[in-house]
């Protein structure tokens, strides 16, 4: 206390002195300028930054605390330069000058983590993309995957669900969930989320992603291994690898960084439900149209209209109905996020430390949806003697989720199993929330949307990660050893309770379940590294090691119905009906030996060889181990003599890689008997037997699925690295495709079996480009663009896979894209009086006016497999595009991502299906107003008498096939970094910012969002809404 008071007075005196000096500086040109240089991303002070007066040789450097002092006249320009940072020019305008520097991206010497070691951008021979998360706005994000939308070439990121903590699908070159390695420890990539049992399991709208226990603010860098570079991770690397490195303490003085923000969330426009009067009018009309078609009356048939049914809603009813209840308004709200992060780091030559604490609280835009997340981390490093460094990284975390039943039901129960958003769309607006007695109203078998807010559904998730390692320097700079043990433990507990006041699944019955699961992933590794310049022309960098990886998973759930509401899910012994328990336990172990060696000849020719030998416990003894080799070469063209005079090229490197990666599956090779989930009850329930069925026979012939990765790339740096980038072309061949649920012979008593066979391939390209467009005195403008493309096709199929055929004509080809969509083309709707084409299906009302006209592509007068069209729904191109502007103390960045050339089935259209409305089971969206009816013959959507599922065709029509193209503005951020002498007395740097996340989307897609994952469910899918987030925050370093 006394000390700080003294400090304050000392600083005040200094300030007075400085002011006094300033007053005379007009006379004396030279003055002493002092200040601190800090890093823009994390606010830490930067030692060793060169500070010079532009155009002269005068200069100094910052000390260990990042401070400098230089004599310079007002108006002179100081140049700040440091390894790994963008140079910066600042004009002297006073005696204090605090400067923040940006991390340099894509510099030639930028360090790139490649797994079991590092290399630099100029020496890398494989396709690895580096993402600096510190450059990405984090205010409204709670997980690492959220930061990655569009940020890396070749990395497709898409929103699985936008609910708090919702799943984000990461896929490298279209391969699916990659392997995650955090500080050397393998992390599971999928979310750990218990289900809610089968008691009301169809309300399970939860979809969560992996890495939920980590704090994005703790991440130093993210590397994406896209090609054979992943082969060093062998059997689990077929989908590529994402390496995450956390922040470490740095020797130097204490740094404290705080960042905090407040955000609010506003939904994008959601699907628009029918208003009460629209619903009633439409309902009346649809009943009439159904009647007319049934009686073959005009315009559906030759008979004159007669005996029309009495309208359910009178003209007076409709006039009085008005807009009715805004059900979506009842369940949606403005969301909010509070995000606070503190980290403290520093250290000495002997020890460094990094401590952080994070708090993130999100109230979702759907009532009852939320996330409360706490994280803590300690990354410690000790060097007790010259040859030994001990490291200990710990992370602990708890997430409390408030779950919502958004999405769609997971079974086929229809409207009785609707989740909350489904119910809000399905409930007609002419029904009030509560009846005269104050009880929830009822409509059909749909649960009242507002009553569903009474469902209690919470998940509590904990994770604990310990990562202990030792570095042993045997010969300093040449030979070193590394020993690592990492353990990641996660546990989640979900309580779920539907009170009996909720009319759900056709019953006022309480339902409760409690489900628990946990998993542990251990990494134990020992490596030896060797680095040496063998001769003037040859440098070797080699690593060899062994590892063992253990995974265990346990789950337990119990459930019942009929207990008292006050007890909830806290004591399941209160339940009286439908009592059930489940449990699961799995374990697997992988054991590995690996080595990699990199050679550099004459600093021009690069060669890297790697080899991994993996054993997996769940494979048969004779195929327990497999090899995963890789080789890559690079040619630094820019270092050749003939390039000496080409001064605008700083780097030109051609590289190529080839290698093998693998993937494991569960206990597929071993046969056995197990309870299959069915229980047979006799004597009216008094006696029961769980059926124990043979689920598999032994498959000693199974072998490893292997992916052959090939990649050719070009890295370049032009105009003193003002333009840098990479271009990669790749092909993956997935051979020996291993499918656990492979087809069997038609008469086998096992309907599936694990089987090798089939061959798929992916090919495509990724391009990334960074440019420094403008660099003026006070203004700079940088851009980054990435573009990715891939296709994913079959080369050969499994032996019992049968190509789809219809009416004797095969329409599926052996080499079709894997995700191919097959459909019938249609052209407009049948109109009254129009001749029904001979090829038109007759079932499902397809021959009545208002039904889509099916295109008979080959003109043979009937619909066969030859008339089925196909297309690849995968986007042709994904892009990311960002711009950063700096003007004096201001910074502005804007980032877009998007996709083009994709198509998909728009499942939102199910809500506009007039047939659901007329069956009185649900209301719908305004899209239903476009339905063709006898009074709306210009309607563009099929009429009430057309039921596609009843046409008997093997594939659907194209009426719901739409483009999924979009460009989204992911972030627009404006920041201001203070450079005020007064503030600088207390802080090293202060930056305030406003950020808008998902600010807008440009798309023709009609529905909730083209990016969100959908499923085809009875009644219609209703995903968690997409929303904009507006954040206000500050970041301060002390």
């Amino acid at each position: 206390m006394q000390n700080s008071t003294f400090q304050f007075w000392r600083r005040l005196c200094l300030l007075v002195f400085a002011l006094a000096m300033l007053s005379v500086s007009g006379v004396y040109a030279q003055q002493t300028v002092t200040g601190t240089v800090t890093s823009k991303e994390d606010g830490t002070t930067l030692p060793g930054i060169s500070v010079s007066i532009k155009g002269t040789s005068q200069g100094t450097a910052t000390d260990a605390a990042g401070k400098f002092s230089i004599k310079a006249a007002s108006g002179t320009v100081l140049l700040f330069r440091g390894l790994g940072y963008d140079a910066k020019e600042v004009t002297v305008s006073g005696s204090t000058l605090n400067v923040t520097l940006d991390t340099k991206q894509n510099g030639l010497n930028e360090v790139v983590v490649i797994g079991y070691g590092t290399t630099t951008r100029q020496n890398i021979t494989t396709a690895v993309t580096k993402v600096d998360p510190k450059k990405i706005p984090q205010a409204a994000n709670n997980s690492i995957p959220q930061l990655l939308f569009g940020r890396a070439s070749g990395l497709q990121v898409s929103q699985g669900s936008s609910q708090p903590g919702g799943n984000i699908n990461l896929s490298i070159r279209g391969r699916g969930n990659p392997l995650y390695v955090v500080d050397g420890v393998i992390f599971p990539g999928d979310g750990l989320e218990p289900g809610n049992g089968t008691i009301a399991g169809e309300t399970n709208g939860v979809s969560r992603g992996g890495l939920a226990g980590l704090n994005p603010d703790d991440v130093e860098s993210i590397e994406v291994l896209k090609d054979a570079s992943a082969a060093i991770y062998g059997v689990n690397a077929a989908n590529g690898v994402i390496l995450i490195t956390t922040k470490k303490g740095k020797a130097g003085r204490l740094n404290i960084t705080y960042s905090g923000s407040y955000s609010f969330e506003k939904n994008y426009p959601y699907l628009q439900p029918l208003k009460a009067n629209q619903y009633e009018t439409l309902y009346n009309q649809l009943i009439v149209d159904q009647y007319l078609a049934g009686k073959q009356q005009q315009p559906y048939g030759p008979n004159p209209q007669s005996g029309l049914p009495t309208p359910k809603y009178s003209t007076a009813d409709i006039a009085a109905a008005g807009n009715g209840t805004d059900w979506l308004g009842q369940i949606f709200r403005t969301g909010a996020i509070n995000n606070h992060q503190v980290n403290i780091n520093g250290g000495s030559e002997k020890a460094t430390y990094y401590f952080s604490g994070g708090y993130y609280n999100e109230d979702g835009t759907l009532k009852g949806a939320g996330l409360n997340k706490y994280t803590g981390r300690a990354n410690l490093s000790f060097t007790p003697t010259k040859f030994l460094t001990l490291n200990a990284n710990f992370t602990g975390n708890t997430n409390s989720y408030l779950n919502s039943s958004s999405g769609g039901q997971t079974g086929g129960s229809g409207s009785q199993g609707f989740g909350i958003i489904q119910a809000a769309l399905g409930y007609p607006a002419n029904v009030a929330v509560r009846d005269a007695s104050g009880a929830y109203t009822r409509y059909g078998v749909i649960a009242n949307p507002v009553s569903l807010l009474d469902v209690q559904d919470n998940t509590s998730y904990h994770s604990l990660n310990a990562n202990l390692s030792a570095d042993l320097k045997v010969i300093p700079g040449v030979l070193a050893g590394h020993l690592l043990f990492g353990d990641n433990y996660e546990a989640a507990n979900r309580t779920f309770f539907v009170p009996s006041t909720v009319f759900y699944f056709s019953q006022n019955l309480s339902r409760a379940s409690m489900n628990y699961n946990n998993r542990e992933n251990q990494t134990l590794e020992a490596t030896v590294t060797f680095k040496k310049d063998i001769a003037k022309f040859l440098n070797i960098d080699a690593v060899a090691g062994a590892g063992q990886y253990k995974n265990t998973y346990n789950a337990f759930g119990s459930q019942g119905a009929g207990g008292a509401d006050v007890i909830g899910a806290t004591n399941l012994s209160a339940e009286t009906a439908n009592i059930g328990i489940t449990s699961v336990k799995t374990a697997s172990k992988t054991r590995s030996y690996f080595a990699r060696s990199s050679f550099s000849f004459l600093d021009k020719y690069l060669l890297t060889l790697s080899y991994r030998y993996d054993g997996y416990s769940l494979f048969f003894p004779n195929t327990k181990y497999a090899s995963f080799p890789s080789a890559s070469i690079g040619w630094k063209i820019s270092n050749e003599d003939f390039m000496k005079n080409v001064s605008f090229v700083s780097l030109l490197k051609l590289r190529a890689s080839a290698g093998t990666t693998g993937s494991t599956i569960g206990a597929a090779g071993y046969g056995g008997y197990a309870p299959d989930g069915n229980t047979i009850f006799f004597t009216n329930g008094a006696v029961n037997y769980a059926t124990i069925a043979r689920y598999a026979i032994d498959h000693p012939e199974l072998t490893w699925q292997k992916t052959e990765n090939k990649n050719i790339g070009l890295d370049f740096g032009l105009f003193k690295d003002r333009v840098t980038g990479s271009v990669d072309v790749f092909r993956d061949d997935i051979t020996n495709l291993l499918r656990t649920t492979g087809p069997t012979a038609p008469l086998s008593y096992l309907s599936t079996q694990p089987v090798n066979g089939g061959h798929q391939y992916r090919q495509g390209y990724d391009i990334s480009l960074s440019t420094q467009n403008l660099k003026l005195h006070d203004f700079s403008w940088n851009s980054a663009v990435n573009v990715s493309h891939y296709t994913y096709r079959w080369k050969s199929r499994f032996v019992y896979d049968n190509l789809l055929a219809y009416q004797g004509v095969t329409y599926q080809a052996v080499n079709d894209p894997v995700n191919e969509i097959y459909y019938f083309k249609t052209k407009g709707l049948l109109q009254p009086g129009q001749t029904v084409p001979a090829s038109q299906p007759t079932a499902g009302g397809a021959n009545l006016p208002g039904s889509p006209i099916y295109v008979d592509a080959d003109g043979d007068g009937k619909l066969t497999g030859a008339d089925i069209a196909k297309l690849n729904p995968d986007p042709k191109i994904s892009i990311g595009f960002g711009n950063d502007f700096h003007y004096k103390q201001f910074d502005l960045s804007i980032f877009f991502y998007g996709q083009f050339g994709g198509k998909g089935i728009n499942y939102n259209n199910a809500w506009g299906d007039p047939n659901s409305i007329v069956s009185s089971t649900q209301s719908g969206t305004v899209q239903a107003l476009n339905a063709w009816t006898s009074v709306n013959q210009s309607g563009t959507r099929p009429g009430v008498n057309y039921i596609e599922s009843a046409t008997g065709l093997p594939q659907g029509s194209d009426i719901n096939l739409v483009s999924t193209n979009f460009v989204r503005c992911r972030n627009l951020t404006l920041g201001y970094t203070f450079n005020s002498p007064w503030l600088n007395k207390f802080t090293k740097s202060v930056r305030v910012f406003v950020d808008a996340q998902n600010l807008f989307i440009i798309t023709k897609y009609k529905g909730v969002d083209p990016e969100v994952s959908y499923a085809s469910v009875k009644g219609g899918y209703a995903p968690y809404p997409m929303f904009r987030t507006f954040s206000f925050g500050l970041r301060a370093g002390f």
């Binding site: 059909g444 056709s506 062994a546 030996y593 416990s617 206990a667 299959d676 009216n684 037997y689 009185s920």
Partner: protein, 494 residues
């Protein structure tokens, strides 16, 4: 060095750990093991939504959706067309089966050809085991009952289908041979299984709901009937008549939970109230949820699945075919006062009489699924079929007429009276009458399609209610034809 410490041996410690299952080396061994193992054969003969299979969700033969009622009653003249939910409701109620050719492996009864192989394996495992001969016999009888009944239903759906009945062919190329067997060979397999079952199953098993002698004989009799092998059908029917079962005098009581165990019902699906239809819970009876209109004031079920009209209701023509005195008609509600106090009937647009065959009087809470057992072998049905067989073999004998009259008296009531003499005048007249009588007696019990086909009335009956009668068999899935490389022939008419 460090590497050596970490991993001492390549394979040691890398043995698989597989939890939650029994290894092939230690199961099944004991008699108790086999009792558990054989229980699986009951799986398709339950009333639940269905069961999970690795190839997809499959339906039970008695599932409410895509079970026997939907396949054998919905497409006939007894039940109305209903398109409100589209999909299988539209297709089955309109007797349009073409869509089944495009089925995938899920929700597909044709996939039960694999289940037949599975039972063959189970029978072989029992045979090769060291358990007692008595246990072997009884367990084999249960397994063969299941296999025979599965094949019976497959025959009614698709005609003869390829099956593996010889365990030595399992896991060989024979599993890819989808050549349809001859009808004679396929029938002989069914008869062989059911005959063995009838000889070796107990009359009254210790667990109510296990297969018994009567269900084996009843399915065997229907097999003969549907093949018009009336001689064997008569013989089997007479055997059932000697077993000691007798008609109850209150038809409605056959379908009520309180009186579900009686001397007429020979075998029923044992159902439990308050279940959810999931496969880990007991069989349920959800029928009123499908047969009550939205506004119908049920006893315990106040909210059916219906959005308006009931998805399943009988035709007015069928209702009107009853003699007004027939008590069996009382389970069809032609007029009711709805929840709003309005009378609903044919005159004001009720789509069809409400089927209240399984009254909703049970369940711990309102709107719970019911527990009424669902009879699948019933003496009243057997007596009518026996009468039909005798008539086919020997004309309208007094015995045959008497069988029908006994059923009419017991179930229809004394006021109903005997079969009119004009209807028993000739073999043809009596046969025509018998189809009607069978309809009145066993409506909504999953028998109508077979009855219509056997009597040669499939086309005319459907036309009479405005349904287009195509082939009465289902097409086999196209993917199986492809898989068979053309060996599997498509059902005639598709």
């Amino acid at each position: 060095m460090a590497a050596a410490v970490t991993v001492s041996s390549c394979k040691k410690g890398l043995e698989p750990q597989i939890y939650g299952s029994l290894s092939t080396t230690n199961f099944p061994k004991t008699e108790a093991d086999f009792v558990n193992y054989v229980t699986e054969v009951y799986k398709p003969f339950q009333s639940k939504w269905g069961y999970n299979d690795p190839a997809g969700y499959q339906n039970d033969w008695f599932s409410p959706e895509y079970g026997d009622i939907m396949m054998f009653d919905y497409p006939t003249d007894q039940l109305n067309i209903w398109t409100g939910w589209g999909g299988i409701f539209t297709q089955f109620s309109t007797a349009s089966f073409t869509f089944l050719a495009n089925q995938g492996t899920g929700n597909n009864h044709f996939e039960k050809i694999r289940f037949v192989t599975r039972i063959t394996q189970i029978i072989d495992d029992i045979n090769k085991s060291t358990i007692s001969d008595a246990a072997k016999k009884e367990l084999t009888a249960e397994a063969r009952m299941s296999r025979g009944w599965n094949m019976y239903y497959l025959l009614q759906l698709y005609g003869p289908v390829p099956v593996i009945l010889d365990a030595s062919k399992i896991n060989t190329a024979a599993e890819t041979d989808l050549t349809r067997p001859t009808r004679e060979a396929f029938l002989a397999s069914i008869v062989g299984d059911l005959t063995y079952a009838a000889q070796n199953l107990p009359k009254s098993p210790s667990d109510y709901g296990r297969f018994n002698q009567a269900i084996a004989l009843t399915v065997l009799m229907r097999t003969y009937m549907n093949e018009k092998d009336f001689v064997n059908a008569e013989k089997t029917g007479r055997q059932i008549m000697t077993m000691g079962y007798s008609l109850v005098t209150d038809y409605a009581s056959l379908f009520m939970e309180a009186t579900e165990r009686n001397n007429e019902t020979m075998w029923a699906i044992s159902c439990v109230p308050d279940q959810d239809g999931n496969e880990n819970h007991a069989s349920f009876n959800p029928w009123v949820f499908y047969t009550y209109p939205k506004d119908y004031p049920g006893n315990r079920v106040k909210d059916s699945f219906a959005g308006g009209d009931a998805p399943v209701s009988t035709t007015w023509a069928f209702y009107n075919s009853f003699d007004a005195a027939d008590k069996r008609r009382n389970l069809l509600i032609a007029s009711y006062t709805n929840k709003s106090g309005v009378v609903r009937n044919q005159a004001n647009g009720l789509s069809g009489p409400v089927i209240a065959k399984y009254p909703d009087l049970g369940g711990a809470s309102l709107n719970a699924y019911q527990g009424n057992d669902i009879p699948k072998a019933r003496l009243g049905d057997v007596m009518l079929q026996l009468a039909e067989a005798i008539n086919q073999n020997s004309g309208p004998t007094a015995e045959a007429v008497s069988l029908v009259n006994q059923v009419r008296l017991a179930h229809g009531g004394a006021a109903l009276g005997n079969v009119p003499s004009s209807a028993t005048a000739t073999k043809q007249a009596f046969d025509t009458w018998l189809l009607k009588e069978e309809g009145w007696e066993t409506y909504f019990e999953g028998e109508r399609k077979m009855d219509l086909v056997r009597h040669g009335q499939w086309q005319s009956a459907l036309t009479s209610v405005g349904k287009n009668a195509g082939p009465y068999l289902f097409p086999v899935p196209t993917y199986e034809i492809t898989a068979s490389k053309g060996k599997l022939t498509q059902t005639q008419g598709y």
